[in-house]
């Protein structure tokens, strides 16, 4: 036994000594592979309609895009969409000449709706698959976990979760978010809510951090605009029997209800509300109708408004960009794909647009490998986008200070069993003061 100990200690001491003597001076650097490719620089400072290079087919060292999607676990329904979107995207971009003339390769991993699995996959994608940047998940926890690792490994990471912290205290210069977050949605929705629905509110949220952040931010902005939140009701996130938590909890003066429920609670929540306060106007948080067959809702959907960053259905929103986007994805006007599966377009657009944003950034900054990330990041910071096939969701900006995208927020309403765009909240009403400034953050290596 002591012999074992002795040998181990000796080995470790030798190893440590050898290492210490050869240790590089700047810890935290990773080896970067410089790739040579045909880098064509197209000058696009503020991206308008991109010029598709139909003449050149993509050649040269591929650009490897890592994807960490929620393919299993509680968020499994969103991973399906992300995966479908990114594959259509790859085919289109490659057919049109790739990014900077280089073809793109996808490496898709599952985070199992679990943050530490997501973080493990992040490292795997960077170290084993050698990816150039990573598209992230809708599961905020994975985004929070991956953010510091993104910086450590000099890998740009695109988040699609909605926890506000990802583009504030929990974020850093290597994390970008091409989707709306809770604070943005609440701020935008509060304008609409106060002007068009009512001034006395009750808030009903699922009892976990997503729900609480909506509860807090909604109250802040409603009160800022002179309204009142008379009750804040929480419903357990696991059990889905919502009724007992609502009975007797909503004061009579309440004019409307703000709803933030996770997937499993949506139907029971609407059912319960229909019993307790039938026909009361309801403002649902982003994508609250994810995966729900709205034609089955009947009375449950009376006066139901849904905040969304992108309308699920086409009618009323038939811009050229949208029509083409949805055609490429192969979805019908309700957002159902050819397999009959529901496509989460309110998140799918973010995956689509972030890759186009990277393309614009890469081509305008002359990026060739991760060593050029500083130039790319600076190109992305403050980039503006206009509605186009590449950005079908609409005009938007990618704010420099916190890397958060700000855009139009849509309010859908349920009419005759289907959602349609009822109102749009302009970008200016969604913008809040940034709490961080990543532009002052130093780059890694």
């Amino acid at each position: 036994m002591p012999l074992v100990l002795g040998v181990i200690v000796a080995v470790v001491v030798i190893g440590v000594a050898a290492y210490a003597l050869t240790m590089p001076s700047t810890p935290g650097t990773t080896t970067t592979t410089t790739t040579t490719g045909t880098a064509t620089t197209t000058t696009t400072g503020t991206a308008t309609t991109t010029t598709t290079q139909t003449t050149t087919t993509a050649a040269g060292e591929p650009i490897k895009i890592g994807c960490i999607f929620n393919l299993t676990g509680s968020n499994a329904t969103y991973g399906y969409t992300s995966s479908a979107v990114v594959n259509v995207l790859k085919d289109k971009i490659n057919a049109e000449g790739g990014i900077a003339g280089r073809p793109i390769e996808l490496y898709i991993e599952d985070d199992e709706s679990n943050a530490s699995v997501g973080a493990e996959k992040f490292r795997k994608l960077v170290e084993f698959n050698d990816v150039d940047f990573i598209l992230g998940t809708v599961w905020s926890a994975t985004d929070v976990a991956c953010a510091p690792i993104a910086k450590e490994t000099n890998t740009i990471y695109w988040s699609y979760g909605s926890a506000t912290t990802i583009t504030s205290e929990g974020g850093n210069r290597y994390v970008f978010r091409m989707s709306t977050n809770v604070r943005e949605e609440c701020k935008a929705a509060s304008t609409f809510a106060m002007e068009q629905i009512g001034t006395k509110w009750a808030s009903i949220v699922a009892d976990f951090s997503f729900g609480w952040s909506y509860e807090a931010d909604f109250k802040t902005y409603i009160e800022e605009k002179g309204g009142e939140v008379l009750a804040q009701i929480r419903v357990p996130a696991g059990t889905a029997d919502v009724l007992p938590y609502l009975v007797g909890k909503i004061p009579a003066e309440v004019e409307a209800v703000q709803l933030t429920l996770n997937l499993g609670l949506i139907m029971p929540g609407l059912t319960a509300l229909n019993i307790v306060k039938p026909n009361i106007p309801k403002l649902g948080s982003c994508y609250i109708l994810s995966g729900v067959d709205t034609t089955q809702l009947g009375d449950l959907g009376n006066n139901l408004y849904v905040i969304t960053s992108y309308p699920q259905r086409l009618p009323g929103y038939e811009t050229d960009a949208n029509v083409e986007f949805r055609e490429l994805l192969g979805v019908d006007e309700d957002g159902i794909d050819s397999n009959g599966r529901w496509m989460g377009l309110p998140y799918g657009w973010a995956v689509w647009e972030s890759v186009w944003a990277m393309k614009e950034g890469i081509e305008s900054s002359g990026w060739q490998s991760k060593a050029d990330n500083p130039a790319l990041i600076q190109a992305l910071e403050g980039m503006e986008y206009q509605e186009s096939l590449e950005h079908p969701q609409g005009d938007k900006i990618l704010r420099a200070e916190d890397h958060q995208c700000f855009t139009t927020v849509y309010i859908e309403k349920l009419v005759d069993g289907k959602t349609s765009v009822f109102a749009t909240v302009p970008m200016e009403d969604a913008i809040y003061t940034p709490t961080v400034d990543f532009t002052t953050e130093a780059f890694v290596g």
Partner: protein, 316 residues
């Protein structure tokens, strides 16, 4: 000091881990990270094996200590600004206190009651962790900047990949050595007696409760250590560390690799991580394979991989 065949084998494996992996790692990307996580899960599995393999107590709620260890470290670093070792100590002390308090009452329970009570306890821990968002970050979790490992005269940064690997390796070795000594000590013999025939232990005048209790607390401590190490490698902890799937993992590791062998859990962890790294991408429902493996192991190789090999080779 004559080295048995088994000890020689162990030394060889440790040398491969210490030197071979980092060297291979320079040409195979991701290998070092995979093995780092394997070493951490190895510590978890070894700790759990003391309870499961050596005293036949099946806890289905050990992720309670996993989460406590992780948060003990994370909160010490974030809010109390403690150094690396101090934070680690806090995590371990926290786990020890809870393990003693809980163990005093639960270890006495009979087998099935014990299993179910540990399930209830871990769910309580999970719900509380989800609820105390200001402290734990809830299910979104919290990130941290890991303080450097300061040994007085020299400082190492965990952000260096090799430092990271060796840190986890050293903790693995320390855990292995401590647990091996425990197992071969007088107390360890008591453990084995408990698993062989608990009734006779009492007839022989030994304190059954004492043995089981010590095993419980020891296993909780190493579980907490593993939790802290996982928080270190991901610079992150969330309420998900308390979730039931982290309770099931060590059971899977130990059963696959071989319960009661200490090394078995490490092997089980490596197999799991290989699946996670290479199978998950092509087949996201890879967990079905683990379900089938578990049933197959019970039926055909109940001693797990190492257990069956041990029997075949008959080493000491």
């Amino acid at each position: 000091m004559i080295c048995g065949k088994k000890t020689l084998l162990e030394i060889i494996v440790l040398i491969i881990l210490a030197l071979g992996i980092p060297i291979l790692g320079t040409s195979i990307g991701g290998l070092v990270s995979l093995m780092s996580t394997a070493l951490i899960y190895g510590v978890y599995a070894m700790g759990y094996d003391i309870l499961y393999g050596f005293t036949h107590q099946t806890s289905y709620g050990h992720s309670l200590y996993f989460g406590l260890g992780a948060y003990g470290f994370l909160i010490s670093v974030r809010s109390l600004n403690l150094g690396f070792f101090a934070a680690l100590l806090v995590g371990i002390i926290l786990v020890t206190i809870f393990a003693i308090a809980i163990g005093l009452f639960t270890v006495r329970l009979s087998e099935s009651y014990f299993v179910i009570t540990t399930i209830i306890l871990v769910w309580i821990g999970y719900y509380l962790a989800m609820n105390m968002v200001n402290i734990t970050g809830g299910d979104d979790g919290l990130s941290m900047t890991v303080p450097p490992i300061s040994l007085g005269f020299i400082e190492f940064s965990i952000y260096d990949p090799l430092v990271s690997y060796f840190t986890f390796f050293i903790f693995f070795v320390i855990s292995l050595v401590i647990l091996k000594r425990l197992v071969s000590s007088h107390l360890g013999k008591l453990f084995i007696a408990i698993r062989t025939n608990p009734n006779r232990v009492e007839f022989l005048g030994y304190n059954l409760f004492y043995g089981k209790f010590i095993a419980y607390v020891v296993s909780a401590i190493f579980t907490g250590l593993a939790g802290a190490l996982l928080a270190i490698t991901f610079r992150y902890a969330s309420a998900s560390y308390f979730a039931i799937n982290y309770s099931v993992l060590p059971i899977i590791f130990c059963v696959m690799g071989g319960a009661g062998t200490l090394w078995g859990g490490f092997l089980g962890a490596i197999i799991y991580l290989l699946f996670l790294y290479f199978v998950s991408a092509s087949w996201t429902n890879y967990l079905i394979i683990f379900g089938i493996i578990l049933i197959a192991i019970v039926k055909f190789a109940p001693k797990g991989i190492l257990g069956t090999l041990k029997k075949k080779i008959k080493v000491d």
